[in-house]
């Protein structure tokens, strides 16, 4: 009757005692499971592939191309890549594949990304599997406590991802060389790298943290016209964040796979000029 009715203190989700007595956990008739299933399959495939490639520690360089999984390469056991992204910060004690060092950053960026969070919370965690479909968990605290409270570090991964994207841009520039490191040449790999770097940047810049930093945090856009424009630009990209997340995931896979094929000699990079 009045505006303030106390919520009932009992648990049980949609089957809680006070709610409409409906036994089914959901009544959806559409194929609601399709999206999470496809998402799970896609992410799983990528994880399997990247685990294999990251631990392989081989076939990641075929002049002038360096796999994005291994760039920058920060240990002594890296292959020397002529003018390439080598920086021996870790020295000789690092015995594992050098990809492990650097992959932490793009992995962390994507793992804490607001889109990927949605994707894996839904598809792997089933929390919830789809809208208005009951989740199987008895308790839920979301991102209020450890470990999920760590999702809040997304912004720092964003800064790191900017650096990585910078290095990958450098790699793309290097791909305008031929196998003898002479400038002004292009091969099919150069195109793959170009597409990849554009998508990587688009995905990185379209990030929600970026949107916040460039302007979203402001109270008065009218006093910061340049940042307002930047915010609008990022906002337009941000609306496509999901598509960019998938596209750039695919392109980074393609770039690595391309390098693998060339480096392992399965395939010769067709040169344009």
């Amino acid at each position: 009757m009045a505006t303030g009715t106390e919520p009932q203190q009992n648990s049980g989700g949609v089957r809680a005692r006070t709610r409409a007595a409906i036994a089914a956990p959901h009544l959806r008739t559409d194929r609601w499971w399709l999206a999470p299933a496809v998402t799970a399959a896609g992410l799983f495939a990528f994880v399997v592939y990247s685990t294999w490639r990251a631990f392989a520690g081989a076939d990641y360089y075929a002049a002038p191309y360096v796999s994005p999984f291994y760039s920058p390469c920060l240990a002594q056991n890296c292959r020397t890549m002529h003018a390439g992204p080598n920086a021996d910060l870790f020295g000789s004690w690092w015995g594992l594949s050098p990809a492990i060092i650097i992959l932490i950053f793009p992995l962390g960026f994507r793992l804490t990304c607001y889109y990927y969070r949605k994707a894996y919370y839904r598809s792997f965690w089933a929390s919830p599997p789809a809208c208005a479909v009951a989740e199987p968990h008895a308790k839920y605290t979301g991102e209020t406590r450890f470990p999920l409270i760590l999702q809040n570090v997304h912004r720092y991964f964003f800064y790191a991802a900017l650096l990585v994207a910078g290095v990958l841009t450098y790699d793309t520039v290097l791909s305008f060389r031929d196998t003898h490191y002479r400038w002004g040449h292009m091969g099919l790999g150069t195109l793959v790298f170009l597409v990849n770097i554009v998508l990587i940047w688009a995905y990185t810049v379209s990030c929600h943290s970026c949107r916040h930093i460039v302007g979203g945090k402001l109270k008065h856009f009218s006093r910061h016209p340049v940042r307002y424009r930047a915010w609008q630009f990022v906002g337009r990209l941000n609306a496509r964040h999901m598509q960019l997340a998938w596209a750039s995931l695919f392109s980074v896979w393609l770039a690595d796979f391309y390098v693998y094929l060339v480096a392992s000699g399965v395939f010769a990079d067709p040169r344009f000029f």
């Binding site: 009757m1 009045a2 505006t3 303030g4």
Partner: protein
């Protein structure tokens, strides 16, 4: 002995739309413990449907705008039948009421220099409507709702109880205003959710229940608009004023059938939309009445130039007051030049880029896309008249919003009469809500304070009678065989009765009226009244819509009779009242008010005795317009409206 729950309050506000909430906020801020009762959930009132804006002469868009110009436009729109003091207060106070909303968090669309943007609207000389896209009503209701919550938060800090000084009883319906002698003593209400009855005792009651549109078949009004406040006032002994004036908005949706009547905002025309008939002609140029000839464009070219350069051109006739446009559309359709679904075409798609349409008319775009599968950026809309607003209402004192003859009863908003005369201008209703909502709350609080030492008492017998009346539909079946009137018959389905009532009012007391038809309508209403006594319902009292409708029927029948009787009596055409048999405005009627009162002045249940008509009509002469206000008009204009003797007083 009455067993219903009772609570004591200082002021009870019936209705939580714009007027009700504004009244409640004012009363609470003036120290009165205030209860608000509304039929829907808090924040769902029909005010959310208002689209165009709030008319207020803030002069943000045109520096020449003043309250005097606004007053003039309002009087012209109402064909000089307005209660002029209300029109004056309204025009003077509207800007403050709008600015006040900003301090409560409202976010209107802005001008380039950061002030409140104002848009053009029919009948307004300057761009005057403060707006938020085309969802101004939502902004208004949400702002008032949030202000009410802010006050509750204050009370919580001070008393530990959110509802100690301002409480909303949502989803409750008031069926009777209770009285102690001549004075108001409280209200009798039921909870829709549980069907439980309760009484709120209060020396002051503000009625702010809105309109009567649900008595008509094609209407833009929601289910709540069953004329409850009008009926409550009548039953409490207060007269209703000029009920014959019902505004048919010219542009309602005509298709699909299930949404027929839903409003297409006037801003579509204010922003450049044009009306065309099936021959592609902009027919409004043929329908400019003499009194408006000098104010409106004579050619399409001039009309089109006005959007860009209003200083040097006259406005297109699509922006004539609503009554004129509604009649014009009606005539076109009758002449066989209508659209496939019986309306005319309203087109913005050829007038504005799609992007602009989506930005300026987002909810219209949405509404047509979702409900009619029509993309208004690509094709024309089909529109036709729909019952929209009742200018008539509870007769009130202009300054205090007090209902005549019942101390402690106040009325504000659509349910109050007088302000808009015979026809309301778009945008004037939201400002009306704020201006008179505040005044009603203010004077109700003062009235309650004055009664503090001698609070009127609630009479148990009245509460019992109200309770018996409300329970009647459950026993209707048992009584059906032996009806007290002796007219036995089968139990009636309230939904069927409602449909018949709507059809009757739509067909016989609709946009164009004829003497014979209205007499027929009165006969039909009498028949429906008899049958309504047998309206029975199944089930129990918990959230039972059939029961609720059966109770609302009493109000709709009362109000419909008022409309029909007053419309039959007024033998002229003016504003929202068009008589085919008296097609012109008659200056002798300019200063005539028609008042409806209950035929049985005891106001008891006997008043619903079906054998006789329930309404007695009286005619009174209006108070002469104050000379300084009259002086705002040119003499040449006044001679068109005023009777000889009024001019030379």
């Amino acid at each position: 002995m009455s067993v219903v729950d009772r609570q004591e309050w200082d002021v009870v506000v019936v209705g939580a739309g714009g007027a009700g909430l504004r009244a409640a906020i004012e009363a609470r801020e003036r120290g009165a413990r205030t209860a608000v009762i509304c039929k829907s959930l808090f924040g769902k009132a029909h005010t959310v449907m208002a689209e165009g804006g709030i008319a207020a002469a803030m002069a943000n868009a045109n520096e020449h705008d003043t309250w005097q110009v606004h007053f003039r436009d309002t009087m012209r729109g109402g064909k000089f039948l307005n209660q002029w003091r209300m029109a004056e207060l309204h025009a003077r106070e509207a800007p403050d009421r709008v600015w006040e909303l900003e301090t409560w968090g409202a976010l209107f669309d802005r001008t380039k220099d950061g002030r409140i943007s104002q848009r053009n609207f029919g009948g307004h000389e300057y761009p005057r409507l403060a707006h938020v896209g085309d969802r101004t009503g939502l902004e208004l209701i949400r702002t008032l709702q949030q202000k009410a919550v802010a006050l509750q938060q204050q009370d919580f800090k001070e008393t530990g109880d959110y509802e100690s000084r301002l409480k909303v009883f949502q989803e409750c319906t008031v069926t009777r205003v209770l009285k102690d002698g001549p004075r108001v003593s409280g209200v009798f209400a039921y909870e829709r959710e549980s069907g439980r009855f309760f009484v709120l005792e209060a020396p002051a009651v503000v009625v702010a229940t809105g309109g009567i549109g649900k008595s008509f078949k094609v209407t833009s009004n929601s289910w709540e608009y069953t004329g409850d406040g009008h009926a409550l006032a009548l039953l409490a002994g207060a007269p209703l004023l000029n009920m014959e004036f019902v505004q048919f908005h010219p542009t309602g949706m005509v298709w699909p059938p299930s949404v027929k009547g839903i409003l297409v905002t006037e801003s579509v025309r204010g922003d450049g939309g044009v009306l065309r008939n099936s021959e592609g002609k902009r027919f409004m140029f043929d329908y400019v009445p003499d009194v408006f000839k000098e104010k409106y464009a004579e050619s399409e070219e001039e009309g089109d130039r006005w959007y860009e350069d209003p200083e040097h051109n006259r406005r297109p006739p699509e922006l004539l007051p609503r009554d004129e446009v509604a009649r014009a559309i009606n005539s076109e359709v009758k002449a066989g030049r209508g659209s496939p679904h019986g309306g005319v075409f309203l087109d913005v798609s050829t007038r504005m880029p799609a992007e602009v349409i989506r930005r300026r008319l987002p909810s219209m775009y949405h509404q047509f896309k979702e409900l009619a599968d029509v993309d208004i950026t690509a094709e024309a809309m089909e529109v036709g008249p729909t019952c929209h607003y009742v200018m008539g209402g509870i007769a009130v004192d202009s300054d205090t919003a007090a209902a005549r003859g019942v101390p402690g009863l106040f009325a504000a908003g659509e349910v109050a009469g007088g302000m808009h005369g015979s026809n309301r201008l778009g945008g004037n209703s939201l400002s009306d809500l704020l201006v008179f909502g505040r005044r009603a709350g203010w004077h109700a609080a003062e009235h309650a304070a004055r009664q503090a030492g001698d609070r009127p008492a609630v009479d148990d017998a009245q509460a019992d009678a109200a309770s018996a009346e409300a329970l009647r539909p459950f026993s209707a079946e048992a009584e059906a065989g032996a009806d007290r009137t002796g007219e036995a018959g089968p139990p009636e389905n309230p939904y069927t009765l409602h449909q018949e009532l709507q059809q009757t009012m739509n067909d016989l007391v609709g946009i164009i009226r004829r003497e014979g038809e209205m007499e027929q309508a009165l006969e039909k209403l009498a028949e429906l009244r008899v049958r309504a006594r047998r309206a029975g319902v199944e089930g129990h009292r918990q959230f039972n819509p059939g029961w609720h409708l059966a109770l609302d029927l009493r109000n709709m029948l009362l109000v419909s009779e008022c409309v029909a009787r007053a419309a039959l009596e007024r033998t002229e055409s003016r504003g929202g009242h068009t008589r085919e048999d008296h097609p012109t405005m008659d200056r002798r009627w300019r200063n005539a008010n028609l008042l409806c009162a209950l035929a049985d002045p005891t106001g008891g249940l006997a008043a619903t005795d079906p054998a006789r008509g329930q309404i007695r009509l009286t005619r009174e002469t209006t108070e002469p317009i104050r000379p300084d206000l009259l002086a705002l008009f040119e003499k040449e204009e006044l001679v068109k409206y005023l009777a000889e003797e009024e001019l030379y007083e």
